[in-house]
Symmetry: C2
Subunit: 419 residues, 2 copies
């Protein structure tokens, strides 16, 4: 067996073993590990920043663009942010062991469900060192062992951060293999990891579309995936003008590079006159490039013609596609055809039309009179999130601690046999 | 494109289209389709039995064994059974549209979850014609379109039953493609179906281990799978003797050929003296072959030596493996090593030991003082079931209507934008 295969096999076996002990540790122990990580991050801040400088220097000399360098970069402020996120995870309730729906059946047995960890989770992510800590902390709190594989550009930063985690586990008397990191930057390691279904129960790829599609195509275990967000805001003919303007403007311009940003504006042809024109002026003032259908172009010479590709594009940039539709049904059909089932919003004062939109749009979040920018674990009350799932299986929408768990049935009898 | 690929593409596109309309039909319409199917089964009973006779004759001449012929066989009584199961599905609450966990967030928006269909489900099953109706009914009630692929030996029976479904859909004014059947017996159709991830959202294989492993290895969409059941009953040193005997005997002997049958009996060496001997006598009288560890063989010369393979064998027959263990931990480790994470039971009067077993045994159902024979959708109050999932993802344990659904977040605001 070659050395990479051997490495992954070892990591997998060790993780499986660690996951057995993690299954039953109590909340205080989990929180004390997280507390130890916080202490270690503070204590080792200097050496973490030195390791990060090494990555930054290598990244610059190999020509990483500014956005990637920015993601890769750590500084005291960002380390404080990581610590804040850890403190938040400490404060979240522990989902494991919670028993629900316990009820007596006619046979006399009692049936309920107990929440349990998934087991071993593999996380493959790009060069954002904060994910190393976030992912480890969410997995630990949910009782899962984890194998981390960060982007090769962040290898020194990740190893320095990982040392803080490993020491924290050992100091708390836990199996240090509860969190492991793949310390080779060979691509082959990813291929072997997603095939290790004997030891790894789920894979979470965090990164661009290419990474996620590649992992999904080859993984032999379930994948919790966060695909792209082509989010729509639809301004209905029954929309309140001011709400329409506020929501559409906020959804596009609050932040451009995020998956919950509105990428397409759908406008009912009967929207109160002047509303769209006001909105166009605001966008133009903000520097948003508008690409629209022929009908929309009648509203402004600032709107350039959209191509067919525009409707399914996740711009992640100050660009917005605009389409005038003749009906609510046409809006829903457009979303069905071009959307990515991430987040879509309607603005309307008509409750029946709102209900229809809520029921018929098949996305992980469907909104009425609210900005798509709200699609976020923190805003939904989940605390930290490990991504936003666009799958329909297991977990959908923002993925917090509960998304990293499963449930089992528990059955309580008193000598009951089945007739 | 070859003709099989073309067939599956057409079925997939038609199913996807039908699933859109199914998403929003009301409960009364769903129930009226199920009522129509019942009427059609009664009306067409003769022609169904004629078609079934054709399959039986072909099966016999091709040498199908008695068990398979029995599964394939329909008669008026079995058709009544199918109708009863349909009536039960009519009486179950409709999960779709149910909104839960609606609450206000500090931002002022309201967040909740709405239950929705998965979309298009492919079901691949062996030659049990009743699955054709059961699967179609469960999918319809949960708002899913379905593509059925039954075993080739049942093709005439399945087509006759399918006609009852198709007519029922048309009579209710619904898209007849809500339920489709693959009418070729070519194996290639299965391969193409499990690759059709653009149109099929989930696959449910129902059948033997070979079928399920083959589907899982090739499917490009999530698979809800029912693997084998190597179920354990563990008699703790704190067990009540009578309960121990009742539960262990019922778990093994109630029915042999089912996945929730106890296949291995684990006995604490400190179990009240005489209990195991009484139990052995009962098994022997019932004709159960016993294969045990060396220690267990000291109890009776009727126990033959178990091999290492025995511990992971799903007998589905009057055979039981027996092992004496030194501790509760040893029992849990045995289950972890050899079990299939289906259903495992402890018999004990000690609550702490029961809790430890409940927490640490990682199976879809974990039981205290009850027979493994209870692991069943009907006994759990789910109504009809489409299988028992041994996966940890999406749904675990008996799969009823809810297992065929997903949830989406709904967000209600009044012009809210995110700061």
């Amino acid at each position: 067996m070659d050395s990479i295969a051997n490495l992954i096999l070892n990591l997998g076996q060790q993780a499986k073993k660690a996951s057995r002990s993690l299954r039953t540790i109590d909340t205080d122990t989990k929180n004390s590990v997280l507390g130890n990580i916080i202490a270690n991050l503070k204590k080792n801040q200097e050496s973490i920043l030195v390791a990060n400088k090494k990555d930054l220097a290598a990244g610059k000399s190999s020509g990483l663009d500014d956005a990637l360098i920015d993601r890769l970069m750590l500084n005291p402020e960002r380390i404080s942010g990581i610590i804040e996120s850890l403190e938040q995870i400490v404060s979240l309730p522990d989902p494991i062991g919670e028993t629900t729906d316990l009820e007596y059946r006619p046979s006399g047995i009692q049936i309920g469900k107990m929440r349990v960890p998934i087991g071993v989770i593999g996380i493959i992510y790009e060069s954002r060192p904060n994910v190393t800590i976030d992912a480890a902390a969410l997995c630990l709190k949910s009782g899962n062992a984890v194998i981390l594989r960060g982007g090769s550009e962040a290898i020194h930063s990740n190893l320095a951060l990982y040392q803080c985690i490993k020491d924290a586990l050992i100091d708390a008397g836990l199996d240090a293999n509860a969190v492991q990191i793949i310390d080779t930057t060979e691509r082959e390691a990813v291929t072997k990891l997603v095939q290790a279904s004997d030891h790894v129960d789920a894979i979470i790829p965090r990164g661009g579309k290419g990474l996620i599609e590649n992992v999904s195509a080859h993984a032999r275990m379930p994948v919790i995936k966060h695909l792209h967000g082509v989010c729509h805001t639809y301004l209905d003919k029954e929309a309140d003008s001011q709400k329409a303007i506020d929501i559409a403007f906020n959804g596009k311009t609050r932040r451009y590079g995020v998956c919950n940003a509105t990428e397409t504006l759908l406008v009912h042809k009967g929207l109160k006159s002047g509303t769209l024109d006001q909105l166009i002026n605001l966008y133009v003032k903000e520097g948003v490039e508008l690409r629209g259908c022929r009908e929309s172009q009648k509203h402004s010479n600032k709107i350039i013609a959209a191509t067919e590709d525009d409707w399914s594009e996740e711009y992640l940039a100050p660009i917005l596609s605009v389409r005038i539709v003749n009906s609510l049904d046409e809006a829903i059909s457009h979303i069905e055809k071009y959307g990515s089932s991430h987040t879509d919003a309607i603005v309307t004062e008509d409750k029946t039309r709102a209900q229809k939109f809520l029921k018929e749009v098949d996305s992980s979040s469907v909104m009425v009179n609210a900005s798509t920018a709200f699609a976020d674990g923190f805003e939904y009350g989940l605390g930290a999130e490990i991504g936003i799932s666009t799958d329909k299986f297991h977990v959908r929408g923002p993925v917090g601690l509960e998304g990293l768990t499963s449930q089992k049935y528990i059955v309580l009898g008193d000598g009951h046999t089945r007739p």
